[in-house]
Every structure is written in C-alpha cells, then in structure tokens.
C-alpha cells in the first residue's frame, strides 16, 4: 500500500495510506486532509485540488493534460510544481510521494 505525505501550508504533516488507483485528491478528501476542496469531484473542472509536487516526484508522474495545464495557468499560487491532485493516480511507484498544499484554493 503506497503512502502519500501531505504537508499543509502551515507545515502540519499527514502521512496517509493510499489505495492503488485512487487519485491523490481522493486520498486527501477521504482522510480529512485539509486544504483540498475538490468541488467538482475529480473531473478537472474546478481547480480546487491544487497541490505542489517537487521536480523529483513530478518527473515520475504522468504529464498533465492540456485541460489541467489551462486550469492551473491563471492560478495566483501557481508555480512550476503545480498539479491538480485529481489527475494523479496512486500506484506503488509513487510510494512516499510528498505533496505540499497551497494556502488557498481558488
């Protein structure tokens, strides 16, 4: 069972067991990790599951779709580490992935 380490904006850490096939957004919302709203439920329609993932981990992820990129583009907190967590599906390869949460979702 792979784990995800979420780090809230205030530094609080949550290490959560994830199921393979579950999105990182679902891992967060199913375990009361604050900071991810996920209003659209994972359809890449709302951009309220914005997270930051550093370059080393990002390199192991599927690249974001054009839609995801467009949704992120105008986010005021956007950095090159930005991803939408509903678009990242957990697998054993991602065991231990570190996910930083932004201060706000827009």
């Amino acid at each position: 069972m792979p784990t995800v380490k979420f780090i809230e904006f205030n530094g609080t850490e949550h290490t959560i067991d994830a199921n393979n096939g579950e999105s990182i957004m679902m891992v967060a919302t199913s375990n009361l990790v604050p900071g991810i709203d996920a209003d659209c439920g994972g359809e890449c329609s709302c951009a309220t599951c914005h997270v930051l993932i550093d370059a080393d981990w990002r390199a192991r992820l599927n690249p974001g779709s054009e839609t995801e990129e467009s949704m992120l583009d105008l986010n005021p907190d956007r950095t090159e580490d930005s991803r939408l967590s509903c678009q990242i599906v957990m697998s054993d390869d991602l065991d231990g992935i570190v996910v930083q949460l932004p201060e706000f979702q827009y």
Binding site: N31, D39, G41, S45, C46, A47, M71, Y106
Partner: protein, 401 residues
C-alpha cells in the same frame, strides 16, 4: 445523546461529515438519508456513470469506511417524516425519534414529474438517483430508440451519452430553443447544432401531451406528431424538497429561506444545498441554485457556523456540463449581462462568451476554454475592456492586473 443531525445524505451531507470533523467537532453526528447508498456525487450520473466509464466507487463522495473511521452515524434507507422544533428532535418513518442540538437540512431536490395521459407506463424514467441510472442503463441495453423530454443540461448530457452508444435519440423541448431557461440564444444555437451534427433529432416548440403504449411506453405524443420510442427519459427541472421544513414552520419561499450564514428562521436549524434559498452578497440578491459547488460551499459555511463560527456564504456561482468531448464551464448568470463578447472560435469548438453589465464582467460560458473560465472567476464584478477580452492576442493574465 444529542448532537448534530443531518437530514439528507447527498453531496451536502457528505461534505458536512468532513467539515464538522475538520472543524474539530467531536460530538455525535448522525446523517439520515432515504436512499440506500452513502452520499454520492450526482453530476457523473448523467455523464461518466451513465456511460459506464466509472463505477460506484468513483461516484461516492467519500468511501463508506470514512463514516465509520470518523465516528459518524450514517443511516441509509431512513426517511425523516417530521421535525419537532420544540423538543429539538426528528422522527423517522420507522418511528424512531432522534434528538439534535443543531440540525442541518440537506434534503436537496427532486425531479418535476409529468402527470399526463400515459405517464405511468413503464419505460418512462427520471434521472436523479443512482437507482434511476442503474435502471436506465439496463433499459438502454435493449432499447434502440430513446426519446428525451426536456432540452436542459440533464437531457442533453444523456443525449450525448446515448447517441454515442448507438441509440437513435430524439429530444423534445416545449420552448422555442433548448437550454432556454439557463442560457442565451447564442449558446442554445451552438448546442443545438452540436447535437444535430452528432445525430440527435431535436424538436423545439413541441409540448408533450401524453405517452402511448401497452404496459410499456412505445410513443411520445406531441400534438400531431408521434415519436416512436423504446425508452423515455424526462428531464424538465427539479423542485426543492422544502416540505419537512415547511411543516415545521420554518420560513420557506422557493426553497428553505436561510441567511448568509446558512441559518434558517430557527437559530438551531441550518440548511444547505439545492433545497435552500439564500442571499448572495456578491450578486446582491437571493438565489436558489441547483449546483454541486453551491452545496459544498454552503455546507462548509453552515457547518462552521453551527459550531459557533461567523462565516458568510458569498461565492460567485459556477457550473459545468460535459457533452461529448466538450467541457462547458460557466461562471455567473449570462442573463445578468447587458452585452457580450466572444473570445475564440465556435467552429473549432473552443470559445468563451463573456457577459458584461455596465462594463463589468458578470458571467462566462466557456467551451473547452478552462483559462477563460478561470479568468472569469477572478475578474467577476470587475471592469474589463470587451475588445481586449475578445482579442486572442491579448493575454488573459494581463487582464487580471
């Protein structure tokens, strides 16, 4: 053992379960829902769940285990029949009385039902619950023709899935254009052309007077026209479920009346989601919304306030609809605009219509244009130059400064 009771187990209840615990409340939480399932998302029901692309596990707001882990009592198949405000309790159909210290009414809404000759024939479906969709999916396997009554978002989303699955689809709309209630003639025309080009037959100005069939529906009767069909899905709007609140003497009027904190006319009773009529300070008027973002955010606000917080619900409404490979994302209400401008290319199925009122951005309809959707969320209520909005050479980011 008193605590917080939630009536309804839809999207708002699923969010309430999380919000109450996230806010640090450790007391009892009881969710009472009349459906058999744990809270699930309704938007996919007319989209990816109907097509079979996703299953039940992806539709649940949170896995069932969540409620157990967070010590939340989730009672499914449990219909509440009355609220006793004097004794601060609710009574279920089975006769159980459950006390509350604070109550959240999240009863949602139900489809408007047609009562015309033949409307009790089998093969006529409504689409609101997962059970509805499971029945429709079974029926679709043997049907070759589908008639959809009502050209709103639900009907058109179903049309897109069904025609793609190989059914012969007819949409019957009483008004002179599809989406008449929710969008502009320009957007209606775009979606009309889109569906027609994919093989959907759309009949506007066509009222349904009855259904014909021997036990099971075989035709939809529209004046002189008869639409032969194997299956009917009716999507003609929803009605907020206010009856429990009304019977308890809470103020209602096109929804359960709440204030900007989500509180009803009883300080111990809050309400959230489709069933409410709430003030929106950004739009400066009351709204009753049929939307998931509304249910989620209003619930977050109500939960915080039930626990002694002082949050105001002041969000700009937004909506989305997926039809075929097209993602429509909307902010605000196009009917608030006094002018509009188009950015992008309709023929390429990638465009956004911005609506302005007195020079300020009040809405967008964005087709396959997430950037325009996101920019409108941030530009809402602010002045913008329509020429710049419409000019693809002008970077959207520059408009945010």
């Amino acid at each position: 053992m008193s605590g917080i009771v939630v009536i309804g187990a839809g999207q708002a209840a699923g969010q309430a379960a999380a919000s109450l615990r996230q806010e640090g409340y450790e007391g009892p939480v009881t969710i009472l829902g009349d459906e058999a399932q744990a809270p699930y998302q309704r938007p996919p029901l007319s989209k990816a769940y109907l097509s079979g692309e996703i299953g039940m596990d992806r539709v649940l707001v949170r896995p069932e285990k969540f409620y157990h882990d967070k010590d939340i009592t989730l009672k499914t198949n449990t219909r509440v029949v009355s609220i006793d405000r004097g004794n601060k309790s609710v009574t279920t159909e089975a006769g159980d009385t459950i006390p509350y210290t604070k109550l959240l009414i999240a009863t949602g809404s139900r489809p408007r039902i047609l009562t015309i000759p033949g409307s009790d024939l089998s093969g006529i479906h409504y689409l609101r619950t997962i059970d509805d969709v499971d029945r429709i999916r079974v029926a679709m396997q043997t049907a070759s023709r589908l008639c959809i009554v009502g050209g709103g978002y639900i009907g058109l989303e179903v049309a897109a899935i069904s025609v793609t699955a190989g059914l012969k689809v007819t949409v019957v709309e009483a008004m002179d254009r599809i989406l008449q209630r929710v969008t502009t003639p320009e957007m209606s025309e775009y979606y009309h052309k889109l569906h027609t080009s994919r093989g959907v037959n759309i009949m506007v100005n066509t009222g349904v007077e009855g259904f014909d069939g021997d036990g099971s529906v075989s035709a939809v009767l529209c004046g002189d026209t008869r639409v032969e069909t194997d299956l009917v899905i009716v999507g003609i709007g929803i009605i907020p479920n206010v009856e429990l609140a009304e019977a308890a003497g809470l103020e209602c009027g096109n929804g359960i009346l709440v204030d900007d904190h989500g509180c009803t006319s009883d300080p111990d009773i809050y309400a959230a989601g489709d069933c409410t009529n709430h003030p929106n300070p950004v739009l400066d008027r009351r709204l009753r919304l049929e939307s998931v973002p509304n249910a989620m955010e209003q619930t977050r606000v109500a939960c915080s306030n039930m626990l002694g917080g002082d949050k105001v619900y002041a969000a700009v409404p937004w909506f989305w609809s997926d039809q075929y490979e097209l993602k429509l994302q909307m902010v605000g209400f196009s009917s608030d605009g006094d002018s509009s401008c188009v950015r992008g290319d309709k023929d390429a199925d990638q465009f956004a219509v911005f609506y302005l009122n007195s020079g300020r951005v009040v809405a967008v309809d964005a087709v396959n244009s997430p950037r325009e959707f996101m920019v409108c969320k941030q530009l809402y209520g602010k002045p913008a130059d329509p020429a710049a909005l419409a000019d693809p050479e002008v970077e959207l980011k520059s408009l945010l400064n």
